[in-house]
Symmetry: D3
Subunit: 337 residues, 6 copies
């Protein structure tokens, strides 16, 4: 466990699940999911604060931190039907990105080797490079596709004189061969970045990026369905990277580079649900939650729910329950006394 | 009038309507609606602050507090076409829920006996027990149905060692016979509470609960129409209970237990309008507005408008105007000089 | 340039574009667009603070202030494909509206005479009178139509004993003959103002006002299309006035008179895009951004993007690119290496 | 009472005292003190918001609004031992300072003519001109001295092209002859305004201004004692003008032009006590409280207490109690059963 | 450990000290100090929120939560030189003060019986009754004196119809015989409460209350020295109760009933140091920290430091170090290599 | 000028002074003072945000940004009597402290070589190493003493696995020989860091550290006078490093590691004045202002005034005015007409 992590919030686990140590495989035996904190904001180009993201995401919930969360919609308990452990925060010094990222990558790989899905709580989006990279290191370069929710493509080349930062992880993942550009699905892009030459590079990689205009015109469900078919072609697993700024700033003000005109919280939660119900998710990160800019913890609460939605849906996918029917009333078919 | 109420905000009436005294029937003569404040947050399980809700709801409006509000959409003035009075705050000590709730219940019953619709401004949702209970005490147990907007079912049994609290009022209403479980319509539920055994209890009562997944899939209007038909079957009146957390935290951050993924403010206002236009509403409460967690008063402003929308629609329902046509342009058929 | 403007924020230009001086036509030679700041909140009826709006709108962006913003959706760079200059703030003393408004009107007219589109950053909405009036002074009274996004009609007669204020500019524009009432399109009205007698006056002017109920029922796109056909009938140009309170307070909390139930940020941005793509816009103002009531700068960021969306779309309209196709994938038809 | 005042907060009186009407002398019969609200911020040079000051000062108190406040220190009840009434807010349109200030001046004069001390709740400091001017209009020009707590001298000549604003009232008072420059005592000045030529003008008027350096070096009590002797020389009464920014921003953040390095709240309260105990105060204003910039209402609470301290001390001065002894224990000489 | 406590913040211990269980004496073996959380705000008369106080006080510190805090000034490590344990939060339902307070009293007594000093983190001040009462239950009624820092005397009789609340604990302690009125020392009182009849009652009990006027006039050190001599006369131990509102709101905004004109943070810390260095402290509580009203955690940080200052001084008092010399330079007499 | 700096706030100069380029000596010709921005927070151990410090310090002032600030107290205009230029922000990527700090050091040295005093606006305190180091590189290692205002000694060895960070700059300065340990004066230390072994190291260096206890007991003026005599012994110049957290959090909440019990704003300003009046200051930095945690800009305003106080006093020291007399009335000896 990190020595410094608790400095960026209290030393707790995600909603009270058991602790583990990613350097001790025995402690992860039988785990379905292992949570890792990445309290790092050295890669952000604008507002910092995401170093406090992991603990905020872990604890922002009005219910008891008791390691149980039965989903009304999915009828699974993501924290009990799965074995979910929390390995604490990886030590990442925000002033030294070149040391911090590899430390996280090794931790992610530890988790994957233990047979668990890593769920990494950021931290700024520079961590997607070690997150998805660490998964690919174990499952095979080129064998993992990416579904990436974000207002920004994060495919910049060099920023602030560095190859590493929250605007570049997706480029580094593709350039390094860890992920295939043509199995890279981006949802929610908008605004005024990156510039045309970067878009040209993205096109050359055969990335598929859904800007909000297309999503608005064709419909989010249609775009997702199309993306799902690409994601599962010739790939064994899917990495889900959720930058909370994919949501509109009204729904997620506590973030570093807010871009107006995004998804609603409901749309994001429903999308995460579909992905984890329908696709073989092998890794997740939830990034760019910056508590100093949050109000009444609404952004942290949303990120907490993104994680829970994912866990609940993975549990459902792995359960013996019938296929999920979104039109079923809440109380249909309950056990009656 | 309460002695301590003004301690939780200035001693004013809702948008400047006239005062009355619920213990003095003469003062309520001819009233269509009587506003009551319930400055109580002793029943909340997480963030308090709703004791400041009643005064915030009464005063958060950028227009003069002049006792008039002509609705653009409905072409009625809810504060003038109806006789609306404000009986001030009921004295409710947050440290003593067992004394506070009966005091409110008696006040609500006073209002109903005077022939007026009580509109109770909360306060946390534990007040729904005395609110709807007080109405049923006068109109008859089992004769009033409930339409309940909320992220949470509020059907818990014992919490914090107590039968009384903001997670349990709906169970107590049904158990006590005041309301029928099979005339209990819940809109907007989501998230991770209550647990399955409580859902089983709810199913056994034949409650009808619309979780956000069903609402998203079938459409809010369809769900409402279905709910309306249940609500009016074998019941004489409808109690409308609006927990502001039915809205997404982006629209209503100032609340105690925010659950991401809710309705928009527009959806809530439109739903309240339809209910008050189409159904025989006999009581209303608007709860869980917590000013300390609000920003720029947007949650209090929304609650203020929920009340006004209800009043405007009740006025329209009681007016001689033709049926409401939502496609009519604003300026159609105006009096021209 | 104003002597006092920098007192209401730092002395910068909109996202780093070049400066000009509206009193010096040579400095505006070749300009397509000239930004003007109107740091004035003397006309507001409730919360002040919009005097800090112009600088907040100019600088709220997480990208470098480098005078370039390539739009992902529109494939134009509104700051480079157009020649955009910033003339700084007009000196407007909030305590003296009768001096302040004419000063702004003269500045706007200077810009129009120079052949540029004025984009005025407010300030409260009282500035719409000099903004649209100044345009009409040059292009001809009765020759410019108005598309007005707002929660409020702003057609009051006398408020606070004055003819001038943020609730009255639209009445003054029509009464003065600068704009035609029957070419006045209002989008997003809702709530409880103005009163019926003012609506009668509006009807008598043959204004066309789309209240949110009609928009919700008929669809925003339908209403916009209808409005566009009116706006271009017998008029040479369109003035676009965007009161940020047309958006729901959840999306735009930092404003003076927030009215729940409005548009989403996405809807506003898409609407502004359509207007500037499809209509001959001759002037724009973006008003009622009040930074003291904002949170994490989300309202200022939205206003900044409203301006950029308009500029990007104007650039597209003036470009040789094919007609805009909203279903086109982001990376379709890029230059490949 | 003002028609628009309640728009800037609820329509209440200072801590629940009785209402009066300054245009109706009978309503003020027997009054010792009459509170007036001046909800005006049209004269501020930087952050506005003081229009919400009067209601914030009236209501920010955690005790019941019951018209009673027994001072622990002074053993008087300023609201009961004196007859204190509240005449509500004067209608002052922030966009028209030239109309607004005379309206306030007339109201202040009404109060003085009724034999009461006016306590004016601002509002920005431009109201000091009508406040002290209105007192002098009745008691005689040149017969009232001024004790002025402020970070700023407020002796500017023309600002923003106007003679009227919050930086100039003291100059206008002296120039107009209402107050004598050599009976003008300023406490707490600091910082970087006004410029030398204005200081020269002040010196020429023989004003006595205590900058914080002198106060720190010689001691606040010494400075006050010296000032008191000047204030009472050849004058019949003293006007006390308290700009809340005389306090350090740590104690009073909610203000328009905060200057670091000021008095503590304790020092201000003790100074106000001494003035009202020892001098014949004939008028008071408390200005520059800007609620939008306040946190947890601490600035409004301080202003509320400045008023109460003044009233308690005036009551003590008028009482039959022995001279105030600050070393007396709280419980000394109490009535024992 | 409480079942519900973690709902009011993460389940952590004070700065990372070891946990214990107050119902299990063995777990407290050898403890010098046991921390208890009292997440209760049902007794507050105004702003709630102190239920979140215990966890905020436990975790608000920028240093690692590592169970060590070497005091620069006192040269002791309060968390290591003493054996400090944390028994977690007592379950206290804010809606039921009559059940909650006895539960806390029993827990406090458990700690005292185990030979440790209880340090209770509030919570509102109603907990002082069980805190000091629980200590007296074990050490003997009338054998413990009280030093009470507060803006308010907290000696009310019945408020909101109840004997129990944050304005009455001191009266109940004296009336019940747990503490002697003539060994009750109050520091920092000010403002306008309680009323004269309550002061008469206090005088009759021979309480000694230092109002801020006396403190300002005679000096804080003088008053403290005098109080110390009373506190140790015929008593075996001293209970220290610190209401954070004894500080000025500028230093402690996050509290329920802020009264301007209080101590500085420095004065409070120095006073707590002297008390714990010079007197036989047998119990401590730190109350009225309300995180929803705090800014940048400054109030919680102050309360965290009040606890640390007390622990450091107790450690010093129990150490073999020479008498504390406040004029000694920090680096005097250090171990040199 | 930096390419990325304007991303962390608008591209402005300190209060409107002229720009220069530190890489172009000609642009600095004749400069007395050159301001440099260090928008870096990669070295902070807790709350980030100081990257926005430089622009906040430059622009937080309610007066026009006109390059003039006549000091009331000192009777000099620090921006006019001196030639003050602003070289903009040095490009410092927060994710790469090992590249960022040398870049700043080179810039500081450029300024010193040009004969000007560098005033560096931080940024976190890790910049003190390049700030004072850059000065010593030019003026001579061991020839510059340090007066260091801070709650923390900043003499840590390795933190987060790095030699570089905001807790270690003072150790690195001494270890590297740039500054002498026995000419290192620290004012305002308090709290619980560093641990004893670090204090031993400090003692071994013969540093002189004034903890708040000593300051409170002996008096700040006495301590300063003593420190001044050390600082000028065998040194040619003094570097003044002001960590804003030397002030109490009530006066400076917007900082990364707030420690209760500090100086008042007034005490800091007076101390800075004395230093710059009495000592040969050759470099200044003002650090640890973190705008995301500030309220109403009070911390930024204080830092702005720290800079102005220093400049005003340097101007006074260099002027022909008589020795500064703090007891002189403000208006004494003014030019009369």
């Amino acid at each position: 466990m990190a020595r410094y992590g608790p400095q960026f919030g209290p030393d707790i686990t995600y909603l009270g699940v058991d602790r583990c140590d990613h350097t001790d495989p025995a402690s992860m035996a039988g785990a379905d999911v292992v949570v890792l904190g990445a309290p790092f904001d050295g890669g952000t180009s604008h507002r910092p604060g995401t170093r406090f993201g992991p603990q905020a995401i872990r604890m922002t919930d009005y219910l008891p931190h008791d390691g149980s969360r039965p989903s009304l919609a999915l009828r699974t308990d993501g924290l009990r039907d799965l074995r979910v452990l929390d390995a604490g925060d990886v030590e990442m010094y925000s002033g030294d990105i070149e040391t911090a990222l590899p430390a996280l990558r090794a931790a992610v790989a530890d988790v994957v080797r233990a047979g668990a899905i890593p769920v990494v709580l950021g931290g700024d989006h520079s961590i997607a490079f070690p997150d998805a990279g660490g998964v690919a290191d174990v499952l095979g370069h080129g064998r993992v596709s990416m579904i990436h929710f974000d207002a920004h493509a994060d495919t910049g080349d060099i920023e602030f004189g560095s190859l590493w930062g929250h605007g570049q992880p997706m480029r580094r993942l593709i350039e390094s061969g860890a992920l295939r550009g043509d199995r890279f699905l981006q949802i929610g892009l908008r605004g005024y970045w990156p510039p045309p030459e970067t878009l040209d590079w993205m096109a050359a990689q055969r990335m598929r990026s859904y800007e909000m205009t297309e999503i608005g015109h064709r419909g989010l469900q249609t775009c997702l369905t199309e993306a799902f078919s690409i994601a599962t072609d010739e790939c064994d697993g899917v990495f889900l990277s959720v930058d909370i700024d994919v949501c509109d700033p009204g729904h997620a003000p506590g973030t570093g580079t807010p871009e107006p005109g995004g998804l609603t919280a409901r749309e994001l939660l429903d999308s995460v649900r579909r992905i984890c119900l329908e696709l073989p998710v092998v890794g997740i990160d939830v990034v760019e939650v910056s508590p100093p800019y949050d109000h009444a913890d609404i952004t942290a609460a949303l990120a907490n729910r993104v994680v829970l939605e994912a866990l609940s849906a993975i549990a459902r996918r792995r359960s013996a329950l019938p296929p999920f029917d979104p039109s079923l009333p809440l109380l249909a078919d309950r056990n009656l006394p």
